[in-house]
């Protein structure tokens, strides 16, 4: 029941042993799934083969010619139904290149680059020969910026200004000037309907040719020598794609990085000052009232002032500290992540990756049944240690097949540990349910004999380093559901006996009795008897296999039974 409280899966699932068909559409509305025949919608195609072998559900690449995005593993019919272009092999349109967007870059397809460029009103600048994302990002350099001075309205002698790149000044000054005039005039319009209807036709404004705009590289619009109508203010702005807080001039243009000590400094309002030469360039400046030189890598970014972000001395924006405090009261930087494993290896427990994102600690569970573990690593930076964590697959499945310590602890291939001194080979196969299979025992004797005796067999056991969880409870969560989301559950069995059973072992204890009577007495391997020194070792082995043996669950409650059993079975008795 606990399993179903948080969510109800409406999708069909199959086990390894199920006989499946390729179903075009399942009962729950999923496309191109290999499911049991009864899970396939009656109106849909169903072929007794894998979907990858069919024409309609064959997975391939789907290209979105509008957005320029490309997705792999898309069934042909799904892509075609959505007006995409489907190919079994990666089409040329899906190849990535470097798209330069102003002073930023994106590693995308050519179509995507065109789309983004048009969205931001930029010319397409695409380099298909640059095949490395990092190089692409590094290649984006800010164009030379400066004050673009122009006369918006010929009747008005005073020029105005926009802070843009040289190319923007040359190519767009005419447009921007026109728009500005249009806005001004339409706001003066009295007629409500005319304003809505005729604005665009009537108010074209006076368009300026590019030659009318003068570009002053390295200067701000508020520079006095330009003689524009843009002056100094105490206002600040955040700019898209930039982390810093900037002063804004009276025309709304960005000026230099906000520095409270420079609010009236005319030089600071004239020339562009580099980030490295602005206030506190080596600090994050998170929460600073006086400096807007936010450093995103160090955990601060420009945000609107609020009770949580803090307030600056001037303006409505501040460098917001994006860091967090973890559960232990320790400071974590924005982007840091770390592992949390409450009740690790207990029944029902799982690993978690916590991360600090935008002032909030996010908890991301790794896969259920401890099929994933959380790993973390720390690097040292000038600002202190920086920890990164990730959930990754728990490679426990072939631990018990390893016969030597060397193979067992090969971390490149598996996550296992070698338990030394657990005597006798693991003899899960010698057990059949709760009774000893005497035939298997005979075979085991042969194996021991072939190895050259019991002493030649390695004394140790290879077990999972992170014992997996097992779906041992009554009903599995495998569900078949309708489109209405009603879940039905069906018991399909579990393999907990198979996993835990590998810890079963048979210990041949030898008893002797005198010729002239007396009691049977243990003479060989007596440590195997109940309460003997081996019992606890074997319990430890049992617990290492997974959710086996005497364990508690993740809230600390013990199982209903003892969790293991030591059985004495009389195998062979010599007659008195």
């Amino acid at each position: 029941m606990i399993y179903l409280i948080g969510f109800v899966s409406a999708g069909e699932t199959v086990s390894m042993s199920d006989v499946t068909v390729c179903c075009e559409k399942t009962n729950s509305g999923l496309y191109c799934q290999d499911v049991r025949e009864e899970d396939c919608s009656p109106d849909a195609n169903a072929l007794p083969t894998a979907c990858a072998s069919t024409s309609f559900c064959k997975p391939g690449f789907c290209f979105d010619s509008v957005e320029g995005t490309c997705l792999d593993n898309v069934p042909q019919m799904v892509c075609n139904n959505e007006d995409g272009t489907w190919k079994s092999e990666m089409p040329a349109q899906c190849e990535l290149g470097c798209c330069v967007l102003g002073d930023q870059a994106s590693f995308v397809t050519l179509t995507r680059c065109k789309r983004l460029s048009s969205m931001f009103g930029l010319e397409t600048n695409y380099n298909k020969n640059l095949k490395d994302e990092l190089q692409c990002v590094m290649s984006a350099r800010a164009d030379e910026k400066g004050a673009c001075v122009y006369v918006a309205n010929p009747a008005d002698a005073q020029p105005t200004c926009k802070f843009v790149t040289r190319s923007e000044c040359e190519s767009e000054s005419s447009t921007s000037a026109g728009e500005e005039i249009k806005e001004k005039e339409s706001s003066e319009n009295e007629s409500v309907l005319e304003e809505a209807l005729g604005g665009e036709e009537k108010y074209g404004g006076t368009l300026l040719s590019p030659s009318d705009a003068e570009f002053h590289a390295g200067l701000l619009c508020s520079a006095e020598e330009l003689g524009t109508d843009c002056g100094m203010t105490k206002e600040t702005i955040c700019l898209a794609g930039h982390e810093e807080v900037y002063f804004a001039d009276t025309c709304g243009n960005p000026a230099n990085i906000y520095d409270a000590s420079k609010v009236n400094d005319k030089r600071y309002w004239s020339e562009i000052i580099d980030k490295a030469e602005s206030c506190n360039p080596d600090a994050s400046n998170g929460g600073s009232q006086t400096c807007g030189n936010c450093n995103y890598i160090l955990g601060a970014v420009c945000r609107e002032s609020s009770s949580t972000t803090g307030r600056a001395t001037y303006g409505d924006n501040v460098c917001a500290d994006l860091g967090c405090e973890d559960g232990k009261g320790e400071e974590q930087m924005h982007g840091e992540s770390w592992c949390v494993s409450p009740g690790a290896d207990k029944v029902g427990s799982k690993y978690y990756r916590h991360s600090c994102v935008n002032n909030e600690v996010l908890s991301e569970p790794c896969a259920e049944f401890r099929n994933e573990i959380c790993i973390e690593n720390t690097i040292s930076t000038s600002e202190g240690d920086f920890t990164q964590a990730a959930c990754r697959v728990n490679r426990w499945q072939d631990c018990t097949a390893q016969k030597t310590s060397e193979d067992c602890t090969n971390n490149d291939r598996r996550d296992c540990i070698w338990l030394d001194g657990i005597e006798y080979v693991l003899m899960g196969a010698a057990m059949n349910g709760s009774t000893i299979d005497k035939n298997s025992l005979g075979a085991l004797r042969e194996q021991v004999k072939a190895a050259g005796g019991l002493k030649e067999i390695p004394r140790g056991a290879c077990v999972p380093e992170h014992p997996p969880g097992l779906e041992f409870y009554g009903e599995t969560a495998t569900s078949t559901a309708t489109t209405e989301g009603t879940a039905t559950t069906a018991k399909t069995g579990d393999d907990s006996l198979g996993v835990c059973g590998q810890a079963n072992a048979v210990c041949p204890v030898k008893y002797e009795k005198g010729l002239i009577g007396g009691e049977w007495e243990c003479v060989e391997h007596c440590e195997c008897l109940p309460g003997g020194e081996l019992e606890q070792k074997r319990v430890q082995l049992c617990k290492s296999m997974g959710d086996c043996g005497p364990k508690t669950n993740y809230i600390g409650v013990s199982g209903s039974g003892k969790g293991y059993e030591v059985k004495e079975v009389e195998n062979e008795k010599k007659k008195d």
């Binding site: 969510f7 390894m16 997705l71 909030e360 099929n371």
Partner: protein
């Protein structure tokens, strides 16, 4: 002396009570007049209402409500193939029924689907709003002629959602004005969220999982919640921390069974 003081206090309290009562009567009166003669109130408070602003005020709440529904259901109004999570029918945008295999993409064009669903959801409200527009202007003394039912087109792009209503109509009073279509623009970060969802689906279908911290480097305002569930499904919530807009969707990819998965 004491009595006099008390009397003054009482008279001041009485004055305040009278002011409050008068204020309440005025407010109640305005409300009653507004409901009886909405145009009069609009005229008095001097609102420069255009057909454009009228439609925007009528349709914007409907658009926002629809976005709210779609954003919690993977972009579908009535999803099929979903997982019920915290009361939401979260659509699988990528799914595999099998173990050890990457998912099959169920919805490749997420933005286009979102636009389509949003358009269908608001169509009825658009028609009602256009009817209401005509009625309102006729009450104001305009002669309004309009063509057939309005058609709606939704376009989601960076920073905004545009709703274009093609409803040719002519308003005549002292002058005649003709409209062909109305454009309602709503500021929204949904485009970015949908494109990030597309990127996550790309990771899920290619590698079977996604590394959400990669996005932090490029999107300072982004927060991605990733919850893995017991059946191997993952529910993602992509959120803009500034606008608080979010988009929720599910995926089931590269699932490992409990144990050896023989019975599974």
């Amino acid at each position: 002396m004491k009595k006099e003081k008390r009397g003054r206090v009482l008279s001041k309290r009485g004055q305040v009570a009278i002011y409050v009562m008068v204020a309440l009567v005025i407010i109640a009166g305005v409300i009653v007049i507004y409901f009886l003669y909405p145009d009069v109130v609009t005229g008095i408070i001097g609102g420069k209402e255009t057909p454009q602003t009228f439609l925007k005020s009528e349709i914007e709440p409907s658009v926002k409500d629809s976005i709210e529904v779609l954003s919690k259901q993977g972009g579908y109004e009535n999803p099929e193939g979903y997982i019920m999570y915290k009361g939401n029918r979260v659509k699988y945008l990528c799914y595999t029924s099998k173990y050890y295999e990457q998912c099959q993409v169920q919805q490749p064009m997420i933005r286009a689907k979102f636009e389509d669903e949003l358009k269908n959801m608001i169509q009825l409200d658009v028609e009602t709003a256009v009817d209401e527009l005509i009625r309102t202007y006729e009450k104001r003394g305009y002669s309004v002629s309009s063509a057939a039912n309005p058609t709606t087109n939704v376009e989601i792009s960076s920073g905004k959602i545009n709703v274009r209503i093609k409803a040719p109509m002519t308003f005549s009073k002292e002058t005649t004005e003709t409209f062909d279509e109305f454009n309602i623009e709503i500021k929204s970060k949904m485009y970015d969220l949908l494109m990030i969802a597309t990127s996550i689906i790309d990771f899920e279908s290619t590698y079977g999982d996604s590394e959400t911290s990669l996005y932090i480097q490029y999107y300072p305002d982004l927060r991605i919640r990733k919850i893995k569930l017991g059946d191997g499904s993952t529910v993602y919530t992509v959120e803009d921390v500034i606008t608080k807009e979010s988009f929720m969707f599910a995926s089931r990819s590269l699932v490992w069974p409990a144990g050896y998965g023989i019975y599974g």
